[in-house]
């Protein structure tokens, strides 16, 4: 999990010199802060603040935090909006739009009261803008193209500047041709830490955005005009088995901040623990108003921070409870084959289609079946656990609770080794008397 981020200052300056004639532009380009580039799709370790006010950094699931520079007491960031190639999961890459090499863009972390200056360079083929979702800021910094500012034309750099007034969980995304730009993956996380690092302090603080894409099997660019029938349900533009586990030390206080930029709600369900919803993008929930849950529904455009004490060791599933959202690309028009014996026609079909194989007559599970798929297409369900195929895709991951982890150790500890006798097992005792199921006619001839 080492961040292979590269400076592209040289590149930016070089291109500015080559492209821009005016000396003023050159000076402006030279004055821009560095815009680091991230090439890995894996979870990067938290970025501890080297300067400015102290805070407890977050970990972006399958993502990273954007470094900044201090200039005259102002935190300066540089976002570059540009086309990127994002690995959705091993075996599939998507041509998306994002920031600084990845979609979603890097997480921006600041502290309540920080003066923040964000340079946004547009390397997209059309105008863009950045809306700082949930922030209190001057109206002209709200990033709504046409309403509060002109769009940032291709090739130009705009600067946003405001004070992070309220601690909490936020996001950023374009508000210019936003249907297309968000369908293409333009979004990022924003955390404003409380001025007092001890306020609601947790040991591990994970963040991710939920997003969805409609990418035709065998293609790489999302269909931007899809309204609801997406086929890739992702966290930070990753689908299981491409989503990293959330690694947690036993008894750590854990916060998971989740934002929803898809077009539907997602009931996010955690196994093995109950949690409290402690924050929304509107602010922190007063302790008296919190209630315990094991699934929190996160509506479109909302953010939720959930917190729990990771008391129970193990590999605990964390997933959207809409079953179709824990599947990768699948045919929604495929008829149900359950209970239909295909053996008689399978031979006939195979004469026409030599590699044909009958499927689905016993249900949807594909188990260990591995068949060739269209290129750049994820299987409907994938990923293997210690006991076999996990038969999940999409919005699925695990919270891996382990004792004896180091404080900032986020490395995958491997599969949980359950103590002997603590795993569900085959009953080897006396078999119960068999009863015919009422109306059951699914027995196979």
């Amino acid at each position: 999990m080492n961040p292979p981020s590269i400076s592209r200052r040289a590149f930016l300056q070089g291109s500015a010199l080559a492209v821009t004639a005016s000396a003023a532009s050159r000076a402006g380009a030279a004055g821009l802060p560095e815009a680091p580039l991230q090439q890995s799709p894996l979870t990067q370790p938290p970025l501890s603040p080297a300067n400015g006010r102290p805070y407890q950094p977050v970990v972006t699931l399958n993502g990273w935090t954007l470094p900044w520079r201090m200039k005259n007491g102002v935190k300066e960031f540089h976002l570059v909006a540009e086309p990127v190639v994002r690995e959705i999961a091993p075996g599939m890459k998507a041509n998306l739009w994002g920031y600084n090499g990845q979609s979603p863009g890097p997480t921006i972390e600041v502290v309540e009261g920080d003066r923040v200056r964000i340079f946004v360079t547009n390397k997209l083929p059309e105008a863009t803008s950045v809306h700082w979702h949930g922030q209190r800021l001057p109206n002209g910094m709200d990033g709504v193209a046409g309403l509060t500012q002109p769009g940032i034309p291709p090739g130009q750099t705009f600067v946003y500047e405001f004070t992070a007034r309220r601690a909490g969980t936020f996001m950023y995304h374009p508000h210019a041709d936003e249907m297309v730009q968000m369908a293409m993956g333009m979004m990022g996380f924003w955390v404003t830490h409380p001025r007092d690092p001890k306020f609601m302090r947790v040991d591990r603080d994970f963040v991710f955005l939920m997003n969805a894409y409609d990418i035709e099997p065998g293609a790489a660019v999302p269909k931007v005009n899809t309204m609801l029938d997406f086929n890739l349900w992702t966290w930070n533009s990753r689908a299981f088995p491409g989503i990293d586990p959330l690694v947690v030390r036993q008894n750590d206080r854990v916060r998971i901040r989740i934002g929803n930029l898809t077009m539907t709600n997602h009931p996010i369900h955690l196994h093995g623990h109950e949690f409290n919803v402690t924050g929304t993008d509107g602010g922190w929930v007063p302790p008296a108003a919190r209630w315990p849950e094991v699934a929190a529904d996160i509506a479109v455009g909302q953010m939720r921070a959930i917190e729990f004490d990771a008391t129970e060791e193990g590999d605990w599933a964390l997933h959207c409870h809409k079953a179709h959202h824990t599947m990768n690309a699948m045919g929604h028009g495929v008829p149900t084959m359950i209970g239909v014996d295909q053996s008689a026609v399978a031979g006939k079909i195979a004469r026409l289609i030599p590699d044909y194989m009958a499927m689905g007559d016993k249900g949807g599970a594909m188990g260990d079946m591995e068949m060739p798929l269209p290129e750049n297409t994820l299987p409907m369900m994938g990923g293997r656990g210690p006991y076999g195929a996990i038969e999940m895709g999409g919005m699925f991951s695990t919270v891996k609770v382990r004792r004896n982890l180091a404080r900032d150790d986020y490395r995958d500890p491997g599969w949980y080794r359950a103590p002997a006798g603590s795993v569900a097992r085959e009953w080897r005792g006396e078999a119960p008397a068999a009863h015919a199921a009422p109306g059951g006619h699914h027995e196979h001839p």
């Binding site: 045919g331 014996d341 026609v345 026409l352 689905g360 409907m380």
Partner: protein, 461 residues
């Protein structure tokens, strides 16, 4: 009958008669040799005319060698060869050659001299007159008649050769038609199997409750439609095979290869087809020979002004409902009142008419050659497009669809529908290939020449 009285002239007439008769003998092959030459040169296959039981038996052996009973008719060339020796219509037509040759020989022979015996009574006298008679007209007209009959014989031969070439082309086309419809039938059978599988599966699903009656009925309807299409394809294949068998002069008790021959790797992209047609087409040769006859008639008329030889074209009469009759007429007149100017003018006009007719035939031939050439080029492009692009693309789509089926992205019904579509594309490709070979045979006929035959032989498997 004009009585001949002078002995010396009688002797010379007999000598001339013997001489002329010597140039026009019935040939041993009835004049078939040159015809066979022409056809063999142009098609690569030699026609045979069986006039004796031995010849017929020999040809049957040849047919059996090319096509053992129930055997495989391997190439279009074999089919053409069989038709040229076995087609009964051709055999009947060859008989015309015999008739024409007999006419030619007849024209070159003097009528048999006849004896007349007259006994007249005049009062008490009895006068007996014996004379040897010969047809004077025939004798005088004999050189011209022989020449004309020789040319007529040539023309009959050219017409027959044209007919043989047409039969060869028809046979070739019928062969490709029969082959293509048989190949198409095989694909139609596959389509039917796919529809049957889909129908069976849909019925089972409807029975289990996985499918609505509507979906099941849709698959059933499709299956029923496919069955009717299959039946139609089967009938067409039978019809096409019968047509071929008829041209071959036999029952359709033979098999055809499973697929059409490969397209040639390339065909000439530019050729002097018009020149080839002019040089090789038999109809042009016939028109040219007719014109030559008219030229000679004109010359004769100019020279003598007494002998009026109206050749083939001039005497082309036609009564409604009957085939046009051609022939010649020789008149000899005694120039008492008419010194022949009008006759010369008429002969000149007839000659010009013949010249224009030749020009018209040549114009037609050029147009046909150009058109046939263009059509073959187009058919080739189309067939190649199917072979090189469309069929492979369809195949790739099917592969991709199978991958999608593997990923549960599409259903088995989509897969079967795709199989049907693929079969339809392959069918269209087969038809395009067939059309190329048919156009190729049409071009050979339009050029009437060996160039096309060589081209074909170079590419036939």
């Amino acid at each position: 009958m004009i009585p001949l009285v002078s002995r010396p002239s009688r002797a010379s007439a007999l000598a001339a008669c013997a001489l002329l008769a010597g140039c026009a003998q019935l040939s041993p092959d009835g004049g078939f040799g040159p015809l066979r030459e022409i056809v063999a040169q142009r098609t690569g296959a030699a026609p045979a005319w069986h006039r004796t039981p031995e010849e017929a038996a020999g040809n049957q052996a040849r047919v059996a060698q090319l096509l053992p009973a129930g055997g495989r008719l391997a190439t279009a060339d074999d089919a053409v060869q069989i038709a040229l020796i076995n087609n009964p219509d051709l055999q009947a037509a060859f008989a015309e050659l015999g008739v024409a040759e007999a006419d030619l020989v007849q024209a070159g022979r003097l009528p048999n001299p006849g004896f007349s015996f007259a006994r007249t009574h005049s009062g008490g006298d009895v006068k007996v007159e014996r004379s040897l008679t010969l047809g004077l007209m025939q004798l005088i007209a004999m050189p011209a008649a022989s020449r004309i009959e020789a040319r007529r014989f040539d023309q009959v031969r050219l017409q027959l050769a044209t007919r043989v070439l047409a039969t060869a082309a028809q046979t070739r086309q019928a062969y490709y038609r029969a082959l293509a419809s048989q190949q198409g039938l095989a694909y139609q059978e596959q389509v039917e199997q796919a529809a049957e599988a889909a129908h069976e599966l849909a019925a089972k699903m409807a029975e289990r409750g996985n499918f609505s009656r509507l979906d099941a009925a849709r698959e059933q309807l499709f299956y029923a439609e496919t069955q009717t299409r299959l039946r139609r394809a089967r009938r067409e294949a039978q019809q096409d095979k019968e047509s071929l068998a008829r041209l071959l002069g036999m029952a359709p008790a033979f098999t055809l290869p499973e697929r059409l021959p490969e397209l040639p790797a390339k065909i000439d992209d530019a050729a002097d087809v018009e020149r080839q047609a002019i040089a090789q087409r038999l109809d042009i040769q016939a028109a040219r020979s007719e014109l030559e006859g008219l030229r000679l008639s004109l010359g004769l008329t100019r020279a003598t002004r007494l002998v009026n030889v109206l050749d083939l074209g001039a005497l082309r009469t036609s009564e409604s409902g009957k085939a046009p009759e051609t022939g010649y007429q020789v008149d000899i007149e005694i120039p008492l009142f008419d010194w022949g100017q009008a006759r010369v003018a008429k002969a000149e006009a007839i000659y010009m008419q013949g010249a224009n007719r030749l020009a018209a035939v040549a114009l037609d031939a050029r147009a046909q050659a150009r058109l046939a050439w263009r059509e073959r080029q187009d058919a080739y492009e189309l067939a190649r497009r199917y072979r090189d692009d469309i069929v492979p693309l369809r195949h790739r789509m099917s592969e991709e669809n199978l991958l999608r089926y593997n990923g549960m992205l599409i259903s088995v019904f989509d897969l079967l529908a795709d199989a049907r579509e693929q079969a339809a594309t392959v069918n269209a490709a087969i038809e395009a290939g067939r059309d190329f070979w048919i156009a190729d045979a049409a071009l050979q006929l339009a050029l009437g020449g060996p160039a096309a035959a060589e081209n074909r032989q170079g590419t036939q498997p």
